[in-house]
Amino acid sequence: MSTLTTSRRSVATARRVQRLREVWAEFAANRAGLIGLVLLGAVILLAFLAPVLAPEETLNVTRITSAQNEPPTWANPLGTDPAGRSILAMLVWGARISLLVGFAATAVSMLIGTVVGMAAGHFTGVTQGVLMRVIDFFLVVPSLVLAIVLSSVIGPGVATIVIAIGITSWAGTARLVRSQTLSVESRAYIERSWALGASDAHVIGKHVLPAVMPLVLANTTLTVGSAIIAESTLSFLGMGDPGQISWGSMLKAALDTGAATGGYWWFVLTPGIAIVLVVLCFTLVGRAFESVINPTLRGR
């Protein structure tokens, strides 16, 4: 029995590996997506290596040797901020928070969106009605205002931002997942499953979830980008942890210290360009992934 089970497993594994290879080959054929993926990998690597590249004491204001608001030099390639810290080091450290919040908030949003979306598509009657009204509420509520209210209730910090972004951005995903659920559930194999005696959990777990998963994954990469922008916005508005550097809080510092009007362009532009670049990378990867999953989008 055990050998037979293993052989069956290995056949399934072999097919999965084969399928992954095909997905990779199709993804790699999209040059823009590949460039996005490489840049993204580099940014993530830099964020991981931040303690090595720019040891924490370089950001300690008490031990700084550089002048304030120094323009780019060889010692500080991107100049210094109004406290004399190297902007390059801040950028690398900021990437950690921005990416962390981006991924964590997206995970929260995807989890809520997928569960609520599948439930709203699977169940009928009152359950569906209530779920749909909840989704509608979160679609129309101004998410920024809600996030500000939430963070002022919970208190500023990284976790607050993650929660605030997560629970304000899942409604679109839920709608998407619901429509995919509806289309999957109209297939005959769901009917067959019911006739075999399936429970709700079986139909959702065995048939619906695997069918909506690729869609959710493609949507995830697109959502990470907007979560990073949302994080910057909230940090810029002062909802972040004041003790930690993120790209949004760098922009806030630039505004507070009058860097833009003072002509210290290096402090304003660099975090802005970093945000644009990372969001663009996520979008490129997401679009490429989407066209792998949905072949009708190819060549458009």
Partner: protein, 567 residues
Amino acid sequence: MPRLEFKDLRVTYATQGEDGPRTLTAVDGVNLVVEPGSTLGLAGESGCGKSTLAMSVLRLLPANAKVEGSILLGGENVPDLSWGRLRTVRWTEASIVFQGAMHSLNPVRKVREQIAEALRIHAKALPYKDDAARDARVAELLELVDLSPAKGASYPHELSGGQKQRVMIAMALACDPELIIADEPTTALDVIVQAQVLNVLTALVASRGLSLIMISHDLSVLAATCERIVVMQQGKIVEDGPSADVMRTPQHPHTQALAAAFPLIGDPASRLRLPGYTAPDAPGATAQEKAGTFTAPDPADVVLEARNLSVTFAGRGGNVKAVDSVNLTCGRGEIVALVGQSGSGKTTLARTMLALQRPTSGEVLFEGKALSHNRKALKDYRRSVQFVLQDPSAALNPKHSVYEAVAEGPRLHKLPGNEREIVTAALRKAELNPPERFLAAIPQELSGGQRQRVVIAGALALDPEFLVADEPVASLDASVRAEILALLLRLRCELGLGALVITHDLGLAWNIADRVVVMFDGRIVEEGRVEDVLLNPQHEYTRKLLSVVPTNNVVEDDASVAIGAGS
């Protein structure tokens, strides 16, 4: 000069295979002559190249097709025509009635405008230069196909399937072509509508002296409309002859398989007998075929019963009674055929019997006990009564292997024993031999017939008492149809597994069923033993259904005279 002549025609498609580009030969050296005023039927299974052959006449093939040889349409070689000349030829000399009228009409334009489109394009050559002349011509065309000219103002969704197909025929006739190619014109239609459409086509061909090429996988449809039948297999013509001869004395084994798939109702040679399997209780079964431990089903031993069952749907403008006070019993080991045209409520009845749909009133009884809708009882019931769906390609999750699809039921019910043994045993019962070869396959790697066997194996894995099959062969090719029906018959005889088979095909009932139940407008209008109902129908609707079975309209022997008395 022949109207159309194919000379050594070869059509190949360049496709992208798993290991680089491949070429696929769809039509392989076809020589065929169509004389003016003659009707030709082109038969064959899906993928045999019949549609490619037809589309090549108007150069409507996709860009990856390569055509060799010549197609002479009224003396001109189609592959050599200039683009301008080709546009003129299209529709004025030859036109096509496309398959699936539902999808070939533009949903946002009135059908009148769509018929006039061809007239407008060919306005230079034809006398329909102004709107008034065109309107008159459209009205004339609609009358030709038995539609009132007022229907021209309808949008496609306001017309029934048969009406849409007739609009397609009117479109094909618009520019008075000499040749009409009808590609599966009746495939998606039910029997009664199919008969109407075929009547319109034959009458037009006869009165206007047109040449007609009709494509179908159903030999009996062709035999009822065409003088001559050509059978294709794998891109080659394997048989060519007058319809009656091809139907009655097919020469090539492939034609024999196609002809045998549509039995003549009343013919004892096809009663409970299919190519490949004969039931022990078939009339005239040999001693060898009778061998085995078969006990005839006992009608008193009722497994599944519907009592005064009604299902009502809330629709626009009042409620629709899909099933109306139906009483139905199915005995153990008995095959009951539920026949009726589309919209008669037969699928709703089946879904209600499977507890996939709640009845509005009345009840379903299983082994004498009324079915409760609580979760636990329902799950037990579903172990005993299994479902075989219409389209096997849709009934299997494309991501699940055969093993997973068959094991789904046993896992849900936590059947004791070795799962792998249960699965292989079920596959073996469904005649997928050797089962090991199929375990890891995914549905797209299987043929249509094999997929349907996997669905049946999935049902058998639960060791059910009874099967409910909704049009189990409607979406399969003719030869596969016979195999699947033989399998159902074998399960009945060898395992004593009864089935309620829903179908619009009376030949199927004649092939395998013990009893037949005729449904019309949500009610059961006639039921009884197959021989009684089909050979001596009492209700007017049953007679009407029998009169439109194409098989009975071509072969004139005693049996069909006896039953063709209706209409």
